[in-house]
Structures are given as structure tokens and as C-alpha cells.
Amino acid sequence: MTSVKVYGPGCKRCETTVDMVRDAAAKLGLEVEVEKVTDPKSIAMAGVMSTPGIAVDGKLVHAGGLPDKAKLEGWLSA
């Protein structure tokens, strides 16, 4: 089970990012647990300065803006 954390205070882009992660996981047939992290302290402690940020299995792979679809699939399947 891959665990994915999406860091963001809950703006529209963060929501879209969560959907994109779910879509990518479904497309790859991966079982993915997506957690939304909205607390500013936790976001900051994760080292995310521009949201939305994405961490896959604890490793930060992306910060700032919507992720690229192809890249997202790459991170999930890595």
C-alpha cells in the first residue's frame, strides 16, 4: 500500500491535486492511501513552502502548483 500525503490548506488546487492522485492510482491499478494535510504547522514542518505539496511514502516529490500527470504516475509507480 502506497501512502500519499497532499499538503495544502484546502484551496481548490489542493482538492484537484487529491483527485489527480486518486485518478492516477486508479489508472495504474495501485492501492493508494491519500491523506490530506491541512494544518499549517504540519505543512511547514514537512518543508512545503508552496502548496499543494505531495509526499509519496514519506518522501516529498512535488511542491507548488498542480502536478504533471505523467510525473505523478511516475512517482506513484516508483
Binding site: Y7, G8, P9, G10, C11, R13, C14, P40, K41, I43, A44, M45, A46, G47, V48, M49, S50, T51, L60, V61, H62, A63, G64, G65, L66, P67, D68, A70, K71, G74, W75, A78
Partner: protein, 353 residues
């Protein structure tokens, strides 16, 4: 606007096609832009209204301004998107950490314009800066400059009111960000941050640093087109509404009416404009077309600029976001200092022009 750390994706189209496309777009843009005035007149001429009637004036105003603003925005937002792909928040933080106040404030205000970040990132960005040792005042210079001097505001001022006003706005916007940040730094208000921010500030647990990968030129072009799509999605309604309002004012409001309530003679007009601006939740896209029409009807430049700056830099929603990291006292100081700066700019302008 993205900073990715692994797996660069292959470009969808070959490089040369991208370069050609960008060059072709700019050429086409240039030709079309210079035909806008005759085009608007031509279309207005086709309509069953007298050209110099109230309605004719309003329609011609609308038909000229809408495509002009949309075209300017497309070009500038694209260019800014490409330029901003060189300035990630992470890089900016590295550039600013350890900068002394003074020079740091100037640097910081400039980077505030160039660094991409959406307003919902204000809190993590703030913490990221402060925890990396960027002085509080320098961080504030960044946070003030970023919304105040945005490209949408500059494009609209340039396109609708003229380059002189746009340049002045840029200069004074930067000036306020630099001075306000400097003053906040000098007051040493680190103790007025929220407790948990102060703990991070004292170095107890700094966020981990991540290294960005360099982007290819194609990825930067894509960042530009992405920026255009995003900004347009956000502002097109405001622009249409703003220009429609402006067109009505332009066509129908009598000259001396505005001079009386927004002219330079009314001493209270500047403070009133600043106060009115704070609770208003709109953006540059909606305000500036109205500003254009108001100026045309004799409103004083200083009053109008003060109103705009207040709407953009002192917005209530922004304060609510910042409440997560700042105490009320610090927010009050922030509003006081930035507000005084805007007030000074407004009064100064009305005296000079």
C-alpha cells in the same frame, strides 16, 4: 507553476515546434493589437446607434478595452510565467536567508514580484522564510510586494490608464513594501508571532530542504501557458464586469460629479478611499477599469491610487490567512504601517498632480 524534484517528463512536442509557435504567436499578437482601435470603431459604426451618443461612447469604450486588455494579459502573463519558472520559492528563500535588513528589504520586494506562489501558500511560505533565517522585516517586504505589484494590475494600468501611471504604481508599490518591511524589522516584533511559529523561528525544528531540478526551456513555456490558463480562469469575469462598469461611467456619468466627490480638493478623499478599500474583496481586474473611467471623469489620481492599493494590499481575507502565524497585535501593526504608506502616497500624488 511547479517545482518538481524527480522524473522530468518528456516534452509532448518537439522543441523547434515550441519555439516556432511562440514566435508566431508574438508576431500575430503584434499585428492584431495594432488593429484594435479601427476594429472597435468599425464595429460600433455597424450598430444602429449614433457614435457620439452616450450609448455609442459606452459601446466603443467596451469594444476597444476588452480585447486590448485580454491580449495584453495573455502576452504579459505568459512572459511572467516563463520568467517565474526561474524563481521557485525555495530558491528565493535561499537568496534571502542571511540578507541584512535594508538591502534585504529591497531585494525581497523585488523577488516578491518574481516568485510564483498562490495566496493560500502565504502561511507555509511565511514559515519557510522565517525558519530559514530570513529576518521578519525582510519577509514582510516580500509578502507586501507580492500581491501589491502583480502583473494583472500592471497590465491593466498600462493598457487602460497609461504607462506613466503603471510605472508610478510599480515604483510606489515597491517603495511601500521596502519601507514597511524595514520599519517592521526595526520594531523587533518577533515576539508577536504565534507561539508555535516562534518555536520554529528559534531553530527548534527547521523544515527539511529539498533540491529543485532545473527545467528545460519547453517546460518553462508550458509553465507560461499554464499561467495564462490559470489567470484567465480567475479574472475574465472581473475584467468584463469592470470594463462594463467603466464603460457605463464613461458614457453616462457627468464630468463635475466625480470632481466633487473624488477630486483633489476634497482633503478627506484619500483617507476615505483607504478605509473603503480594506473590507472590499475584489481584485485588480475588477477595480482598474473603473479607475480608468473615474480618472477620465476628473477623479484625483492620488485618491484613486490609494483606493486601489488599499483594496489589493490590505484585503481582509489575506489578514485572516495571516492570523494563523501572526498575533492580532502584529496584524494591527502591519495594517497601520502599510495603511500609512498608502495614505502618504495618495496625499503626495494629489499635491503633485
Amino acid at each position: 507553476m511547479s517545482t518538481d524534484f524527480t522524473h522530468p517528463s518528456p516534452p509532448l512536442r518537439p522543441d523547434w515546434l515550441w519555439h516556432l509557435g511562440v514566435a508566431g504567436f508574438v508576431a500575430l499578437w503584434w499585428m492584431l493589437y495594432h488593429q484594435l482601435a479601427p476594429l472597435a470603431e468599425w464595429i460600433t459604426g455597424l450598430l444602429p446607434v449614433a457614435r457620439h451618443s452616450h450609448t455609442g461612447e459606452a459601446i466603443a469604450f467596451f469594444l476597444y478595452d476588452v480585447p486590448k486588455v485580454m491580449m495584453l494579459l495573455t502576452l504579459i502573463v505568459f512572459v511572467m510565467g516563463v520568467v517565474r519558472s526561474f524563481f521557485s520559492p525555495e530558491k528565493t528563500r535561499a537568496l534571502l536567508s542571511g540578507k541584512r535588513e535594508g538591502v534585504g528589504n529591497i531585494f525581497s520586494a523585488g523577488l516578491g514580484i518574481l516568485t510564483p506562489f498562490c495566496s493560500c501558500s502565504a502561511v507555509p511560505l511565511f514559515i519557510g522564510f522565517v525558519s530559514a533565517g530570513v529576518p521578519l522585516g525582510v519577509t514582510f517586504s516580500f509578502l507586501i510586494a507580492a500581491p501589491m505589484v502583480n502583473e494583472v494590475a500592471l497590465v491593466l494600468l498600462f493598457g487602460l490608464v497609461g504607462w506613466q501611471v503603471a510605472a508610478t504604481y510599480l515604483a510606489f508599490g515597491l517603495g511601500i513594501a521596502i519601507v514597511a518591511g524595514f520599519v517592521i524589522g526595526k520594531l523587533h516584533l518577533e515576539g508577536w508571532l504565534q507561539d508555535w511559529v516562534r518555536d520554529i523561528h528559534s531553530g527548534a525544528s527547521a523544515p527539511t530542504q529539498i533540491e529543485g531540478e532545473t527545467m528545460t526551456m519547453i517546460e518553462r513555456y508550458r509553465a507560461g501557458t499554464q499561467a495564462v490558463r490559470e489567470i484567465f480562469g480567475k479574472v475574465w469575469v472581473w475584467i468584463l464586469l469592470g470594463i462594463a462598469m467603466g464603460a457605463l461611467i464613461h458614457g453616462y456619468v457627468p464630468e463635475d460629479f466625480m470632481v466633487k466627490i473624488m477630486g483633489a480638493e476634497a482633503w478627506w478623499s484619500v483617507p476615505a478611499a483607504v478605509l473603503m478599500g480594506i473590507p472590499m474583496y475584489t481584485n485588480a481586474a475588477g477595480v482598474i477599469p473603473i479607475v480608468e473611467a473615474l480618472l477620465g471623469k476628473g477623479a484625483a489620481l492620488g485618491t484613486v491610487l490609494a483606493f486601489m492599493m488599499s483594496v489589493i494590499a490590505l484585503s481582509l481575507p489575506e489578514m485572516i490567512i495571516l492570523k494563523q502565524v501572526l498575533t492580532y497585535r502584529l496584524i494591527a501593526v502591519f495594517i497601520g504601517i502599510v495603511g500609512s504608506g498608502i495614505l502618504a502616497v495618495g496625499v503626495l500624488f494629489n499635491l503633485i498632480f
